[in-house]
Symmetry: C2
DNA sequence: TTGTAGGCGTTATCAC
DNA sequence: GTGATAACGCCTACAA
């Protein structure tokens, strides 16, 4: 197995020119003669020359590499955002590496360190649930590595952010429940260490007040990762109450779907006995029966916007702009879990 | 914003030692005195020294970087496999970059080129549907970059492979349909350019023959990406037949779920009128109602196995082993879409 | 136990 | 237009 070790130096020897000429010719530098350029390109191709980006990166102090840190890549919201990031990044000549934290603070810190060592040109991150200290992100400023946070963000980092208005989204969802006649609205909340779940809880409360519904702390259940299991357990808790709620706003689709399944098993009808709303408009929301009313948070577009913002920061480096915040639109998708199909 | 430009050279100057001593101390080389080592580590920490992996990679000719090429990262099967790869790779000190082809041959070729330039230590790939020429992967041998294919593989590449026995899995699925009494079994096949879908089709045929059911070409529909839309369309085609099938084996879960939804809309009962089986045991199979019988193909474990195999090849480089093939177990998960809950 | 020196492959800066 | 040369930051024989 022949190791492909042909470099600019060999090319230079073979063609009797200097490596500078090779380098310039291969990247179409204007000052190289037509014929030499063609000749160089041809032999490079014939000999199977492959540029060594590692060397180039070292010399140029640029890697064209964007690091992405997310909680779990097998959750649709995240994989979908990554997909958006990847698309924009590739278009602009960057490649993307992925780190999943599984919501662990330790893994998040390690990921940032690896990316700093590897001289990523920029980082896009969605914070782990466990994370409260964010000094690992602060270090990035010293290395002049731009950072964009998306979805689960922090305001005290001075970093750029891409997110939806979770407060508004939750408000819309709960207002919808009230408008269709729900009087006792429960909320399955996420981990409040995270900005988004805090905002969703606030939006829930505000919508209730707006509709003259008293907030009943017993109707608010505090989850963590909002898995299927959590959804199931919370559903049972709510359905066991003697005075059962007639509507529930779940902070994600998975727990909402799980809620619906539990309700069905217990012969509780959705939406006539209890209306259910999820969050994110993931594929399961359209697969569950009754189909789930939910908030579309446009994960793919959030990914795209994050990548565009990051690349702008990498390339322009406008000293005047400290940070930028982009709010992506969201919308309530009404389906049968809140409004019976006629 | 101070650019963090502290290198071993500065450290050396400050501490009045040579860079070799710094280098050795930081990686606990045995021949360095206890005190010097401690002193060096302490000042490195204080001054916020960050090793430059790019330089180190160039010098060591090793990047600790694994490239992963998959069709679409927002499909559960793939994101789940990536999750497995990431877990094993990180454990072993490698980081993972992701390239999605969207099933395009062109994007696949480009991805391989970028990974070669960036001197990835190895590549894990799941072939794009469009791909038939695989010379881009052949070049990897010249650069001595190990390759592991998973799921959608090719035998003529001489590369290591991780896959399930799709033929057996399909056979099991269709045999199950026959055993529960289906006489007219249809198949929604995937793109036959891909090894897995060809094998699933063969397994389907074999199971029918084994159960003395004549193969009816009209009952085999050939899909491409097996999206929701394709599933819907095929469902209508099959349900429109005057002599309607009583069982259908779909080559993935998405088309199966879509089939069930279409059947419900048309008041066709699953499983009593028609039994349905999917493939992959993705989350939707448990969300759809009736719950979908499917094949669990253990995507996460396939990812783990692929990464382990690749890393073994990177690190051992046993000249005697040309390639290795690992078959991951699969199992039929029987749910209500084939056997009514009592 | 520590230092010297050369090179990994590319590219930017000067020269000519 | 093209070439010589010196970095980019780190690692590792080989010396001492």
């Amino acid at each position: 197995m022949r190791k492909n070790r042909i470099t600019m130096i060999e090319l230079a020897k073979i063609l009797n020119v200097s490596t500078s000429t090779i380098s310039r010719a291969l990247k179409d530098h204007h000052s190289i003669g037509e014929e030499t350029r063609e000749k160089i390109k041809k032999t490079a191709l014939n000999l199977g020359y492959i540029p060594n980006s590692v060397a180039s990166n070292l010399r140029r102090r640029k890697t064209n590499h964007i690091g992405v840190i997310v909680p779990r890549i097998d959750r649709y919201f995240h994989s979908s955002a990554i997909s958006g990031i990847e698309e924009v990044a590739n278009e602009a000549g960057y490649y993307v590496s992925i780190f999943q934290t599984k919501d662990s603070y330790k893994k998040e810190v390690e990921s940032v360190e690896i990316l700093m060592s590897n001289k990523a040109d920029g980082i896009i991150a969605c914070l782990a649930l466990e994370t409260s200290n964010v000094n690992h992100y602060r270090q990035l400023a010293n290395s002049a590595i731009p950072l964009v946070l998306f979805d689960r963000v922090r305001d005290d980092l001075g970093a750029s952010k891409v997110l939806i208005n979770d407060y508004d989204a939750a408000f819309k969802a709960c207002d919808h429940l009230a408008k269709i006649g729900c009087k006792k609205i429960a909320h399955i909340a996420g981990n409040l260490n995270s900005s988004i779940f805090k905002a969703r809880l606030e939006g829930y409360k505000a919508a209730l007040l707006e509709n003259n519904i008293t907030i009943d702390e017993d109707l608010i259940l505090y989850g963590n990762i909002l898995s299927k299991e959590e959804g199931h357990e919370f559903a049972n808790q709510l359905l066991d109450m003697k005075s059962r709620p007639d509507g529930v706003f779940c902070a994600n689709d998975l727990s909402a779907a799980s809620f619906i399944q539990t309700a069905l098993i217990r012969k509780v009808l959705v939406p006539s006995d209890i209306a259910v709303i999820g969050f994110s408009n993931t594929p399961i929301s359209n697969i569950i029966n009754p189909a789930l009313t939910t908030i579309d948070d446009h994960a793919f577009e959030m990914g795209q916007a994050s990548a565009r913002l990051l690349i702008k920061q990498i390339e322009n480096n406008d000293e005047n702009i400290v940070s930028e915040t982009i709010i992506i639109r969201n919308e309530l998708i009404v389906r049968e879990s809140t409004v019976s199909a006629k």
